[in-house]
């Protein structure tokens, strides 16, 4: 509807409205740009850079000072030594200069050529420092009477070092090394497979539970509001609290679930659900291999997010006039027929949107797996990989490249799903 209006020429009042609208939008757009869109673009930039976490700290020269042979009487000769060190493993520091205060009464014997002295401040040019380069500066001093009046130690004043270090995040040194590293990693396809299985089955699981729960709460009965509230608990509780609880529940030694299952003799011995990669069991003569930890994480996701699907489906069903169901009932439709020919077509659209969003959001999810398994036992998804490469290994560039991959896969997955969506 907006586009129609703009084809007309706007009158002065409408123009005033446009100005007002933009003024109101500027702050909002600015903060979202700064915190969401700009970092997204910056992530693409970082993915082409070879940077590590330590590069984030601005490279600095560390300096230590030594004062040897402290003078005891007039004419004593002492030594002052400065050691400069560029601790950075990657950054050059250019045009380094240095300043320090020399106590009154100490006369410098041979002033090094790159230094000058004004009043009692010594200043030196130290030139450029390569990564990890160390330099020294030494000179001798002679004590005068004045020195013993104050008896200052040269170390009392801390030396000031200044230099220009380039920021490795901002230079134009772009490489595709990070992407090469990701694609050549032996675990790459496995990580992709796990991510897809995790997102797909979690989305299906939470939707299935959501449909069932919505069916339970569709009819009105006493206490329905309370039960609906209780059903939402898994979704609204803090993720950290529920992961800690599930970790303790599934603990093989003290865990309640293992305890109950062994008491009921369903299990012969406790299973560490979150630490076992896979388990083989035979059923009707066939051997099946079940990825235990991955399945458990998927069950957890279904448990945590079914309330959301439930709420959406309930909202859709409650927006339909009750007469529709009543009419079907009068016509003698059985509950299953009602579900198949009324409920299912009604919620199909919502289900599709929910599936798309749940898939995308599970694919994006980091916290849940990170807190449950830490990515161990065959549950390492791409998002966990972003954290591991970026912060555990400390290679920000590769981490960002992984994040780019997450983003691109999502864009393609979303386009693909929308393309093949049922027509509403």
């Amino acid at each position: 509807m907006g586009s129609k209006i703009f084809k007309k020429r706007m009158g002065p009042i409408e123009k005033q409205g446009v100005v007002q609208a933009y003024t109101m939008l500027v702050p909002t757009v600015a903060i979202v740009m700064a915190i969401v869109l700009f970092p997204l673009l910056a992530n693409f930039w970082i993915s082409f850079k070879d940077v590590t976490v330590s590069d984030l700290r601005t490279a600095e020269i560390k300096v230590s000072e030594k004062f040897q042979k402290k003078p005891k009487e007039k004419g004593d000769i002492s030594k002052i030594e400065y050691r400069f060190n560029n601790f950075s493993k990657s950054a050059n520091i250019k045009e380094v200069s240095f300043k320090d205060k020399i106590p009154i009464g100490l006369i410098i014997k041979d002033l090094p050529s790159n230094c000058n002295l004004s009043e009692n401040i010594i200043g030196c040019e130290l030139g450029n420092f390569q990564p990890k380069e160390k330099k020294k500066l030494k000179f001798e001093t002679i004590a005068e009477d004045k020195y013993f009046l104050n008896n200052e130690n040269p170390k009392d004043s801390s030396p000031i070092v200044e230099g220009k270090s380039e920021n490795r995040l901002l230079n134009l040194d772009l490489k595709i090394k990070n992407f090469e590293e990701i694609f050549s990693s032996p675990n790459f396809w496995k990580t992709i497979r796990i991510s897809f299985a995790y997102s797909l089955f979690s989305a299906i699981g939470s939707l299935t539970l959501g449909i069932l729960a919505a069916q339970l709460l569709m009819t009105t009965f006493i206490g329905r509001g309370i039960i609906r509230g209780i059903f939402l608990f898994p979704y609204i509780a803090p993720i950290i609290a529920v992961t800690i609880t599930w970790k303790i529940l599934t603990d093989p030694f003290f865990g309640t679930i293992n305890g109950i299952l062994t008491e009921l003799e369903i299990l012969n011995e406790p299973i560490s659900f979150l630490q076992v990669r896979e388990m083989t069991f035979s059923f009707v003569g066939l051997d099946f291999t079940l990825p235990v930890a991955l399945s458990f994480v998927i069950l957890f996701e279904s448990w945590r997010y079914f309330p959301l699907a439930m709420i959406f489906i309930l909202a859709r069903l409650q927006s339909v006039p009750k007469e529709l169901f009543e009419a079907a009932e009068i016509d003698g439709a059985t509950p299953f027929q009602k579900f198949r020919s009324i409920t299912w077509p009604l919620i199909l659209g919502v289900l599709f949107v929910l599936f798309l969003l749940r898939f995308i959001w599970t694919f994006n999810k980091f916290d849940d797996i990170f807190l449950l398994t830490g990515g161990a036992a065959g549950t390492k998804t791409l998002t966990v990989d972003v954290y591991e490469t970026g912060f555990n290994i400390g290679n920000l560039g590769t981490g960002a490249a992984n994040a780019v991959l997450v983003f691109l896969i999502l864009v393609f997955a979303a386009i693909f799903i929308i393309r093949f969506s049922p027509k509403e």
Binding site: S3, V18, Q20, A21, M24, L25, T28, V29, I31, V32, A34, I35, V36, L37, F38, P39, L40, I46, L56, R57, L209, A213, L216, G225, I227, G229, I230, P234, I236, A237, P238, I239, I240, A241, V242, I244, T245, W246, I248, F254, G255, T256, G259, I260, Y305, L308, I311, F312, A315, G332, T334, L357, W361, N364, T383, G390, L396, A403, V406, L410
Partner: protein, 406 residues
């Protein structure tokens, strides 16, 4: 319907409730006394079937009949199991045993009554079978969902009240020993005195409330502009609001971490107070503009005619009328900010500024006994659940409008 058919249906339904009530309550008993019990499935199955047969064939339906059936169930179970319904000696935990048996008799009565209501008026056909089947499924469904939802929270609370020795001695024993008095809450007290949970709680409140405030300050003008004005780029803006919401947080992590390190915003609550509003503003705008559009424009025009400025109109007319939407948006932001883990984990290093999720994570990394972890989880969970239940009506609206994220 013939009597044979009625008998078969009644026995099936009776057996179902007998079995499921025994299984679920049995598990609760195990968790309360910490020792294994005997599941007398057969006795419960028979007694429950007797109860369902009486319900089907006894025509007088009133309170008196129901109370009689209830008492009969109770007594019959005692008789069939030799006064040991759960395989425990009757003098052991007698109060608990009787209480659970009463609860179980009640479940059997209600379950059978609901599932069998109207059985005499219906004819035996597909419709009837499906209705009965659905009733049984629903019974199972409620039991199943309530169990999977409440079980972890139940264990969380009960475990937080135990001591280390008791948990080591018998991890299954979660009974609450009221005689321990205040010392039941030792884990909570220690978390607040020795582990700084007071600070974490305070920090979490500071971060959540500031996030709500900032997000609203930014979102209200934006939403108002989208709802009330026409301007070039409006459609693009509305569409991008939703797209922004799909951007993965993990792609923002590395850049934000880098910038905040440069700007010295890392390791400060301020960093979080910028990020949380920024990621929730798009949803807030989306929800608010929808609500603003439902407010009649004539009201605002009247205000303008009376000499109010645009800001005056928003503050005095639009916002007071939008309180439900504002409440729902605020609760949504509160939930996001209170529960957020990833950025809190990456951005905070100094314990005195930890939020609850970050503090709890820290606690999880140390060799701290389980009851402390559970107490910490309770402390983190209770505020958000209380806020939620207090304003459930608004929040469910908020969840459907924007709560896809998470």
């Amino acid at each position: 319907m013939s009597n044979i058919q009625k008998i078969i249906i009644s026995v099936i339904i009776g057996s179902f409730w007998g079995l499921i009530s025994n299984l679920i309550l049995g598990i609760f008993i195990i968790l309360l006394i910490g020792t294994t019990i005997q599941f007398n499935y057969l006795s419960f199955l028979i007694v429950s079937s007797i109860s369902s047969l009486i319900i089907t064939f006894y025509n007088k339906k009133n309170l008196q009949t129901n109370v009689s059936i209830f008492l009969l169930t109770f007594i019959l179970i005692l008789v069939f199991t030799g006064i040991s319904p759960y395989g425990l000696a009757i003098d052991q935990n007698s109060f608990l045993q009787i209480l659970f048996l009463l609860i179980q008799s009640f479940i059997i009565l209600i379950g059978n009554n609901i599932c069998l209501s109207g059985i005499n008026k219906m004819s035996f056909n597909r419709l009837f079978l499906e209705i009965i089947f659905i009733r049984v499924l629903k019974g199972f469904g409620f039991t199943f969902f309530l169990t999977i939802v409440l079980f972890p929270f139940y264990v969380m609370v009960l475990m937080s009240l135990k001591t280390h020795q008791l948990l080591i001695l018998n991890p299954l024993d979660l009974s609450v020993d009221i005689s321990r008095g205040v010392s039941m809450f030792r884990s909570y007290i220690e978390l607040f005195t020795d582990w700084g949970f007071g600070y974490y709680l305070l920090n979490s409140f500071i971060v959540s409330l500031s996030s709500i405030f900032i997000a609203l300050v930014f979102a209200i003008p934006g939403a108002y502009a989208v709802a009330r004005f026409n301007f070039p780029g409006k459609l693009l803006m509305i569409n991008s609001i939703l797209l922004i919401y799909l951007i993965p947080m993990i792609t923002l992590l590395i850049p934000l971490y880098s910038f905040f390190t440069f700007l010295n915003l890392r390791d400060s609550l301020f960093g979080l107070i910028i990020v949380y509003p920024a990621v929730t503003i798009p949803v807030a705008i989306y929800m608010l503009q929808g609500y603003f559009q439902t407010i009649p424009q004539e009201l605002e025009e009247a205000g303008l005619v009376d000499g109010l400025s645009r800001t005056g109109v928003i503050l005095r007319i639009t916002l007071p009328l939008s309180l439900p939407a504002l409440a729902s948006v605020s609760l949504f932001i509160f939930m996001v900010a209170w529960n957020e883990y990833l950025f809190a984990y990456m951005f905070l290093d100094t314990p005195s500024i930890f939020t609850l999720p970050r503090g709890l994570e820290q606690l999880d990394g140390t060799e701290v006994p389980r009851q402390h972890l559970m107490a910490g989880s309770v402390i983190a969970t209770v505020p958000v659940i209380v806020v939620f239940l207090w304003a459930e009506k608004y929040l469910t609206g908020g969840l459907t409008a924007g709560g896809i994220k998470g």
